[in-house]
């Protein structure tokens, strides 16, 4: 069935477009019914120009499926046809009823079209519109399509079929139309979201919500034989930095600071700047991969010993911790330790917590660590380890390589023999005194303790009871069945039934 189309002056089109789409049909119908028919009547007398003029001044409206509009248009069409018939007779009458064969639709590139639909004006951008959630993204219409396959289902040898199959030349052939192709493409396009999805999997999140810091950006790009196996880079900082230039004005760039590591002692950090996220990611992880350091670990889970380090005004006190302690430190240090393969550490930062300075200070401290052998050689004494869980058995961890161990007489009086002091270079970390909680002095606390003492051991008792008796019971349980946990009179009645 042919759809009746309406020719309407351009000014009117703009007005009609502003009307609410829901009411558009009915309003258009009403409006057109009353006004345009009369107006169109006058058209024939007014305009004698070529079809070009008509194109400029008139727009073709393809109506909606509203029945009211359809009715109106059919009436209008009948009248138009009447007018047309009249027009055809005259030698130089304008063509009122014309459809467009080309428009902006097929004169602009896909990028320009999408930009028109999704973009925000320059002024709007300056005010921060079109960023983050709510920013419309272009749908890639090429998805689901293969080169050589289109609306016409044809076999093109060389394009979507081989030129020679066996011994025969393949011919151009038209296959029956693929009915479902359109439906499939539409389905794919419907699944593509029109807004940028900012919902990250919780496991992919860093320590900054949906933003980059803390997130992984993959291993550095391989270089010939070096595949960077086992490497993972984590973003520590992502900033937008600007500078004023003479040519462009405000020049905006991304600055990314990352740390990379293979979880086995190798690692490095780097900073890079670029105009796009993808560029800066690539630049920075490759740069970090170029600046690798090897750091010594103790039993592959912690640092060799406590140390103090600083860079700028950022000071860090790092403590060696036993297995299972975890990474109790600033989130930046935690990320660095995870990439390097340190699993247990305690680090206290004093002063500013500038991420770059923290990283630099921490790395400095790590590479300045002294191995046990080096310490023993330095001091010309045995280095002995005492562990509480091994009942403080003296385990000799390193002896001087030269074999010569100093005696008590050979050691001068003022020499620092204490291990911690020697390592920290005489620095002592301030340990703040732990005061009792303010409620502990109140008399009500004594009362609470007395009341709590009654039930303080109940958990252990109940656990033992389950082990020995198999259930929670007392000396009443045998005589009175209701003295059992989970007993209810309803269950009794049910049993009686």
């Amino acid at each position: 069935t042919m759809m009746a189309s309406l020719v309407v002056p351009r000014r009117w089109y703009r007005y009609l477009d502003t009307l609410n789409a829901r009411y558009l049909g009915s309003l258009r119908a009403k409006y057109l019914n009353s006004v345009s028919i009369r107006y169109l009547d006058t058209l024939s007398s007014r305009y004698t120009a070529s079809p070009g003029t008509l194109q400029r001044h008139f727009v073709t409206l393809v109506p909606s499926t509203s029945h009211m509009v359809a009715d109106a248009h059919i009436k209008l069409r009948q009248q138009q046809e009447a007018v047309n018939q009249v027009m055809c007779c005259t030698p130089s009458g304008p063509l009122i009823y014309s459809r467009r064969t080309t428009s902006f639709f097929n004169k602009l590139t896909a990028e320009q079209l999408w930009k028109g639909v999704t973009s925000v004006s320059n002024a709007g951008r300056k005010q921060g519109r079109g960023k983050g959630v709510g920013k419309k993204i272009a749908k890639d219409l090429n998805r689901g399509q293969i080169i050589g396959v289109g609306q016409e289902n044809m076999v093109w040898p060389g394009l979507n079929a081989p030129v020679i199959r066996g011994r025969e030349l393949v011919q151009q052939k038209k296959l029956p139309k693929d009915e479902e192709r359109e439906a499939r493409l539409i389905k794919i396009r419907n699944t593509m979201g029109s807004f940028r999805a900012l919902r990250l999997d919780p496991l992919d999140r860093g320590w900054c919500g949906n933003k980059m810091p803390g997130r992984s950006i993959g291993p550095p790009n391989p270089i010939e034989d070096d595949k960077f196996e086992g490497f993972d880079t984590r973003v520590l900082e992502l900033k937008i930095v600007t500078c004023m230039t003479a040519v462009f004005g405000r020049k905006r760039r991304f600055s990314m600071f990352v740390v990379t590591g293979n979880g086995n002692g190798l690692g490095g950090f780097a900073l890079a700047k670029a105009t796009t996220i993808s560029d800066v990611t690539r630049k920075v992880k490759n740069r970090a991969g170029q600046k690798l350091l090897y750091i010594e670990r103790y039993n592959e889970h912690t640092v060799l010993h406590d140390f103090f380090t600083y860079f700028g005004r950022t000071k860090i006190f790092v403590k060696k911790m036993p297995e299972g302690y975890g990474l109790v430190c600033h989130r930046a240090i935690r990320t660095i330790c995870q990439t390097l393969g340190i699993k247990d550490i305690h680090a206290k930062i004093e002063g500013p917590t500038n991420v770059q300075n923290i990283t630099k200070a921490f790395f400095l401290g790590l590479i300045r660590q002294k191995t046990h052998q080096k310490l023993a050689d330095e001091k010309q004494l045995h280095l002995v380890e005492f562990r509480k869980e091994n009942l403080n058995f003296p385990k000799v961890v390193a002896t001087p390589q030269s074999g010569k161990v100093r005696t008590q007489e050979e050691i001068p009086n003022n020499e620092e023999l204490d291990f911690t002091q020697h390592i920290m270079d005489g620095k002592v970390q301030l340990v703040k005194k732990k005061y009792p909680a303010p409620y502990e002095k109140l008399p009500s606390y004594e009362i609470y303790l007395k009341k709590y003492a009654r039930r303080r051991n109940h958990q252990k008792v109940m656990l033992n009871m389950l082990v020995e008796e198999g259930e929670y019971r007392s000396f009443y349980t045998d005589q009175y069945p209701e003295c059992r946990p989970g007993y209810s009179s309803k269950s009794e009645e049910a049993e009686a039934w």
């Binding site: 001091k379 045995h382 280095l383 002995v384 003296p394 005696t407 020995e468």
Partner: protein, 321 residues
Amino acid sequence: ITHNKDGGYCDTPDRDPAPVFFSENVQTILKKITGTDFNKVFRQRFDEKKLSPPEYKFMTDEELKQKMKNAERLSSKILQMPPVLKERQAISNILSRDPAITGFENCKFVFTDITYGLPDRKRLVVVRDPDGTLRQASWEEAERMNQIYNPRPGRKLKPPKLFQEEHLTNVLERGEYEFVLDSACAQFEPDDPEYLRITSVVYESVDKKRCYQLLHSTRHYGPLCFYLTWNKKIENLLISLLQQEKLEACADIVRLYQLIHTDCKSKMINVDPNQHLELLKAYVEHDSLQQQQLQLAIQAYQEIVRERQQYNENVKTAHGL
């Protein structure tokens, strides 16, 4: 697994193992064969205690020696052997009979002397029965009272289900000998018939599976060897020691046998104490109950030694030495 009903030492029913066990010669032998592997003695026990970071010290040779001496003293304390005693006899000491107060109450009354500082064994615990007799409490009653008033760590009022037969066999099948023996030491007194039953079950199981190494360097190795030697079941132990080529240990076991069973025939033969294999052979000839197996084992050992010597000589000649 069968256990002796009268407690493990019923081979010679009325003979008390305690004087033999505590004699100097026996003690030195047992301590020697137990061994002191510091890695095992001072290993980390999983007792749910929070780990702390290790401490480091710079030490001279003398300081290190001093610390090692301390460690050795501590290890000898850890390796102190639980005593081997005869099964205790039931107490039947009636202090007074008062039939006049029969039926005064329908339950017994237990009186415990809770003086501070008394050892458990010396503490007086008496019971007044409903029929009026005042008697000294039985071993079980006394132990229960002691545990209530002065609880010992690791000891429970009611013995854990671990020590019941089915559960015990289950645990022993998994090879948890040291755990069972440690639990038994914590729960029972050394002359408790229950303790003797459990230990004999464990020792039999160890002997059957030949897992002596699991108990080596622990405090239970000495009593284990003593039990096997007392009951003349040292064949498997000797064979496994031979296979590990520990001749001195074999000789020590034979000497232990001679000390325990003073009427054995091999004692008469004067063998040079340094010739361990000769001592072992003397035992095999005269006193062993499974001569063939032991002789086979000795032969196998000698062959291995011979072949090794031959191989070393071949290597030397090949290198032109």
